[in-house]
């Protein structure tokens, strides 16, 4: 019996009796965005008929759910689902090409894929490249099931997979400052949120409906929401104030606010800086740490006794944050003193000129933040005292994804540092929850951030290895030659293969390897990242490409040789959406809520679970041992820092074992929660919850670790990065590698003159019903979304439209200075900055997704990336582009 048959037999043993009932509910996890809210599904006569949230769980909206999750039921019945393997018979590849699919057997499909993988591995495993994203039914499987296969194989990652707004700086700085993937306000206690670019608490993404629920309750309670955003018709519409701003200029406002707080208002959390940041590390005239000669340890000045000490000296009491000192015979100052002086140049009037936010507004926001933060206050929760700072600045997506993203995002978080609100009550929390003291009955499921190298905060919960370390300590540059994306040269940043200048750079680096096989899962790389023609350039070169998907899209149709049918998520058993890297553990004092993606029925047609497919491939390719080890490391949290080092970490999966998906899931659950809480328990009871402790929710002051507000590693690495990078043709502003968060204008303001005819800025915005482009293919979503004026249209300011002679309903063209164009219908709105055009990213053409064909506009078609259009520290692509707009057809 092969592994798939074994899995099905075991499925029937566990779920067979349940499936015979006429009417039953199944607990599972939604997959229509990476919020992965808990759901329950009603099944009648073996057919799913209703979906809703789970009232008793904090993972999601406690019973509510978004329209996408509800509508996803129809995808299960979609006649366009891929239900058997197919191969391409049209040898031509390209956007708009018809693949002319031919049905084949699983044996032929897997044999072919395995043969190609083995041949490529023999040449060089790096010639196997993969991409993934938490796609429409992929959940977190992309990150675990798929990615770890390719890592075990020794492959490389290319073409990103995540969309253009994906958070390069957010994840990088999230890891450095929060030991977490991302951030979210502590809505239960927060009184004031300044939100900048990003629609969390309105649209989807991590924590999706949980944050909607939490934020709605907070607003009802009186929390003030202020939204600084180029468009005001998404989350800004919920707030008390909409502050329009030019895209990519938030950095100026943040630096001005930082200056006002430190140098004018003068009220900020000095104790937080003193004990929780590297603002106390002494910096010499070379802008590097002053270090103890014998050990190389960074030094502090202790105000308590007037001595210079190493950072880990047990007698250190009151490290100085200001002043001038002598250490090692060198004059030096604490890093914060440099930060404070550096901020002085960033004045509100200057920031106003750049951003169009009035200077008085900037001053007022600074004052409001300080007043609302209640610096110095303490609150007691369950007998535990924690700092109370109920004010924060939060931003994601639209604010941090720009060419200047690292500095923009650290400028924003500098404000949070000054308020002392990081991972304390009412402030900003890392999401997924970075600290767990363990499931009460077993002690497992534990992880914690900790103070690592040089006392710096180091991520606890998940192994980070996404193309360059995001967590501390930073990786050293070793390339070029090991990575398509040059992160072995740039340190953290990854320049992906779809850029306009990638070929030249790769050639200069000696073309170390060329792609032989490309595997894609979950997302739609042709549409998600930059203009499709750029992705096409790379994909046309790849001799063999395959995908594991439940639906066709522009990537599979244009470029894949074989597509394998993945089970719909309502047919899928998987545990990786519940564990590990997930950023969807309920935040703050919401309870730990452990759910499982459980199938309502067996997969239809010949569709298979992703884990079964990858296990099978691992056996055929001969990497099962390594693959098992990677999965075992992940699910046991073996590489996570364990708060209780006495808890044993035995294996769940033995190296050579041919374990099936269903068996693996059962073992993982029992491993963490005990023998009585395996798959059968979850089948019967749905999920598991336990209370979160304040030391978990608000861990910051319970862990001895510091975060960087001065980036000494940038000072140290700058020359080496510059040398290696310039050798292969990168010619960039290396001043970005500075220790001090500084103002750098995004390239969109420097590449064209201010009076250019390309006078409008295109931004992409999320829609509540449209998260992935895939959602436009769902007829129930389309039925409702087509009534929303902002969804399928190009949204332009009313006054701007009038100036250009454009009326509501006209068909217009947006054209960039490279000559790329998109067309669409205009909706004039008062809720858009006059210099901005806002578009929800759609515009599909895939034959396999007929409902979405021709709907909306693809703004990514205007984006060309190259070395000048991405952040050289954090990889964020510059997704805003300047265009001119003109009418091509009147509405009447």
């Amino acid at each position: 019996m092969n592994i798939v048959e074994k899995d099905r037999e075991r499925y029937r043993e566990i779920f067979g009796e349940r499936d015979k009932q006429k009417d039953y509910w199944v607990y599972s996890i939604c997959s229509l965005c990476y919020g992965e809210c808990a759901i329950r599904v009603r099944v009648v006569d073996g057919r799913p008929v209703a979906v809703e949230g789970v009232p008793e769980s904090d993972r999601g909206a406690q019973g509510g759910l978004c329209g996408k999750g509800v509508a996803a039921l129809l995808d299960f019945y979609d006649p366009n689902r891929i239900l058997y393997p197919v191969k391409r018979t049209n040898p031509r590849k390209g956007i708009h090409e018809d693949p002319k699919w031919q049905r084949i057997s699983w044996e032929e499909a897997l044999d072919t894929i395995a043969e190609k993988l083995v041949a490529a591995m023999k040449k060089d495993p790096r010639t196997v490249c993969s991409s993934y994203t938490p796609g429409p039914t992929g959940g977190m499987r992309g990150n675990v099931t798929w990615r770890r296969f390719f890592q075990a194989l020794g492959g490389s990652r290319a073409l990103g997979g995540p969309g253009i707004m994906c958070g390069g700086a957010a994840h990088h700085v999230g890891a450095l400052q929060y030991a977490a993937w991302d951030i979210i306000p502590d809505y239960r206690f927060c009184n004031y949120v300044l939100r900048c670019g990003g629609a969390e608490s309105w649209a989807s993404g991590r924590n999706s409906r949980a944050s909607v629920r939490q934020a709605a309750a907070a607003r009802e309670r009186g929390m003030k929401l202020k939204v600084m955003d180029p468009q005001g018709f998404t989350v800004a519409s919920l707030g008390r104030e909409w502050i329009p701003i030019l895209p990519a200029t938030d950095i100026a406002v943040f630096l001005a606010i930082g200056n006002l707080i430190v140098n004018e208002i003068g009220i900020y959390d000095k104790e937080y800086i003193r004990h929780k940041t590297n603002g106390v590390y002494l910096i010499g005239p070379d802008r590097l740490y002053v270090r103890e000669k014998q050990t190389g340890k960074p030094l502090f000045f202790d105000e308590a006794d007037g001595n210079v000490k190493t950072y880990d000296d047990p007698t250190l009491t009151q490290p100085a944050i200001e002043g001038k000192y002598i250490a090692n015979g060198v004059e030096c100052r604490p890093a914060f003193a440099l930060v404070k002086d550096h901020l002085k140049q960033y004045k509100p009037d200057w920031a106003s000129e750049i951003s169009t936010v009035p200077a008085d507004t900037i001053r007022r926001l600074a004052r409001e933040l300080v007043d609302e933060a209640r610096i110095g206050s303490v609150i007691e929760i369950d007998g535990v005292k924690v700092p109370y700072r109920p004010a924060c600045v939060v931003g994601y997506k639209g604010m941090q994804t720009h060419q200047n993203s690292f500095h923009a995002y650290t400028a924003m978080h500098l404000i949070n540092v000054l308020l002392g609100n990081q991972d304390v009550c009412g402030g900003i929390l890392g999401s997924g929850v970075p600290r767990s003291l363990g499931y009460p009955e077993t002690g497992r499921f534990q992880f914690s951030p900790y103070g690592g190298v040089e006392g710096m905060l180091t991520v606890g919960p998940w192994p980070i290895s996404t193309g360059g370390s995001m967590s501390w300590p930073p990786s050293k540059v070793t390339g070029p030659g090991n990575s398509w994306s040059f992160n072995d040269v740039l340190g953290h940043a990854t320049l992906d293969v779809y850029t306009e200048d990638w070929e030249e750079l790769w050639s200069n680096a000696g073309s170390p390897f060329k792609p032989e096989v490309f595997g894609t899962y979950g997302g739609n790389v042709v549409m998600n990242i930059v203009r499709p023609e750029s992705a096409e350039k790379f994909l046309r070169k790849v001799p063999f490409a395959f995908a594991l998907q439940p639906f066709h899209n522009e990537t599979t149709e244009g470029f894949c040789d074989i597509v394998l049918p993945e089970s719909h998520y309502l047919e899928t058993l998987d545990v990786c959406s519940a564990f590990g890297v997930t950023y969807n553990y309920p935040t703050g004092l919401d309870k730990w809520s452990m759910h499982l993606r459980m199938p309502v029925t067996e997969p239809r047609g010949e569709a298979r679970h992703a884990q079964d497919v990858m296990n099978d491939l691992a056996d055929r390719v001969g990497i099962r041992r390594k693959y098992n080890a990677a999965l075992d490391d992940f699910y046991t949290f073996r590489k996570a820092r364990q708060p209780n080092p006495n808890v044993e970490i035995p294996r769940i999966i033995e190296p050579e074992e041919e374990v099936s998906n269903i068996e693996m899931v059962d073992r993982i659950l029992k491993y963490h929660f005990g023998e009585k809480r395996g798959l059968e328990r979850f089948r019967d009871n749905g999920f598991l919850t336990w209370n979160k402790k304040p030391e978990e929710a608000y861990w910051r002051w319970f862990i001895n670790a510091r975060i960087p507000i001065y980036f000494e590693n940038h000072e140290e690495d700058r020359e080496e990065i510059k040398k290696r990078a310039e050798k292969i043709g990168f010619h960039l502003n290396w001043d970005y590698f500075t220790g001090l968060t500084s103002y750098f204008p995004s390239v969109i303001f420097t590449e064209l003159p201010a009076d250019s005819e390309y006078d409008l800025f295109v931004i992409s915005q999320r829609d509540s019903l449209m998260t992935y482009r895939f959602t436009a293919h769902n007829p129930h979503i389309d039925k409702v979304a087509s009534r929303n004026p902002y969804t399928y249209n190009i949204n332009m300011n009313v006054g701007t439209g009038r100036e250009k002679g454009i009326r509501d309903g006209d068909t217009i063209c947006l054209e960039n200075h490279w000559g790329d164009k998109v067309t669409g219908t205009v909706k004039l709105s008062q809720l858009v900055h006059p210099k901005v055009v806002a578009i929800c990213g759609l515009g599909s053409w895939a034959k396999g997704a007929p409902i979405s064909r021709g709907k909306g506009v693809n703004p990514n078609a205007l984006i060309r990336q190259d070395q000048h259009h991405f952040c050289i520290i954090s990889s964020s692509v510059e997704p805003t582009v300047r265009v001119k707009a003109y009418k091509i057809k009147e509405t009447r």
């Binding site: 009648v44 509510g64 366009n80 309750a217 004026p789």
Partner: protein, 250 residues
């Protein structure tokens, strides 16, 4: 006993989960929508307000629709729920004209959700569980089947999920409430009294059973055939001359 709903616009985020869930709950065919969100803007950049009103049948205490139905298909229960017996409906649509809130839908023809690809199993199941004849009018029924079944099991509508309208239980912002308007101690009655919830366009005189916290009585969204400005979200109306809402409100 009179069933009513309160929608808190201070919590509502306009996500349309209610519209989608209603669609799923009743297996609504293509072209029929019982629950909608009306959207408009007032003001001038940068001082602009976006108005979002999730709307459904108001189950008015004194409905206009029951008075004009020639066959008695449109009728009102003792608990206030207004519904259409499709076996009696002849599709004359006088009720649609008379309704000041444009709450009703007319099912003009059977259309596949995936055109040219046949009806899905979901649609086939729907025709068994919730058959809707072509040529009849339909609308929100406050999920009366959930209420009736729930009461039989001893459950309380508005409190127990199974007995509560689907749009209420699905709201992720917990912005919707349901209960007995004739009971002064019910949650809905208290919310109306304490939060000053309003009925839309009270001047029509039908005494709606749906109230809005944070709403405006003369909301700049409600459509009407009698000449008041129209700003609906359906494409035909949105781009109609003079009906953009945003230009007219400068």
């Amino acid at each position: 006993m009179r069933w009513g709903m309160v929608i808190n616009l201070n919590k509502c985020i306009g996500c349309d989960a209610c519209a989608v869930k209603c669609n799923q709950e009743h297996f609504l065919p293509k072209g029929v929508l019982w629950s909608k969100t009306l959207i408009s803007e007032t003001g001038k950049y940068p001082r602009v307000k976006k108005h979002v009103y999730p709307v459904l049948c108001n189950h008015c205490k004194d409905p206009a629709c029951t008075k004009v139905c020639p066959t008695g298909a449109t009728q009102q229960r003792e608990d206030g729920i207004v519904w259409v017996d499709q076996n009696k409906c002849i599709g004359c649509r006088h009720c649609m004209i008379s309704c000041p809130y444009q709450s009703r839908s007319y099912h003009s023809e059977e259309k596949e959700y995936y055109p040219g690809q046949g009806f899905t199993e979901w649609e086939t199941i729907g025709r068994i569980l919730y058959p809707l004849r072509v040529g009849v009018v339909s609308k929100c029924i406050f999920c009366k089947e959930r209420i009736d079944e729930g009461i039989k099991k001893g459950l309380k509508p508005g409190v127990d999920r199974e007995a509560t309208p689907a749009c209420v239980i699905i709201c992720p912002a917990k912005a919707r409430y349901f209960g007995d308007l004739d009971d002064n101690e019910s949650e809905v009655s208290k919310l109306i009294h304490e939060k000053g919830a309003v009925q839309l366009y009270r001047a029509h005189g039908t005494d709606p059973s749906v109230y809005y916290i944070g709403g405006i009585e003369e909301a700049p969204v409600v459509t009407k055939y009698f000449g008041i400005q129209v700003f609906d979200t359906s494409p035909e109306l949105t781009f109609k001359e003079g009906a953009t809402g945003s230009e007219e409100n400068e």
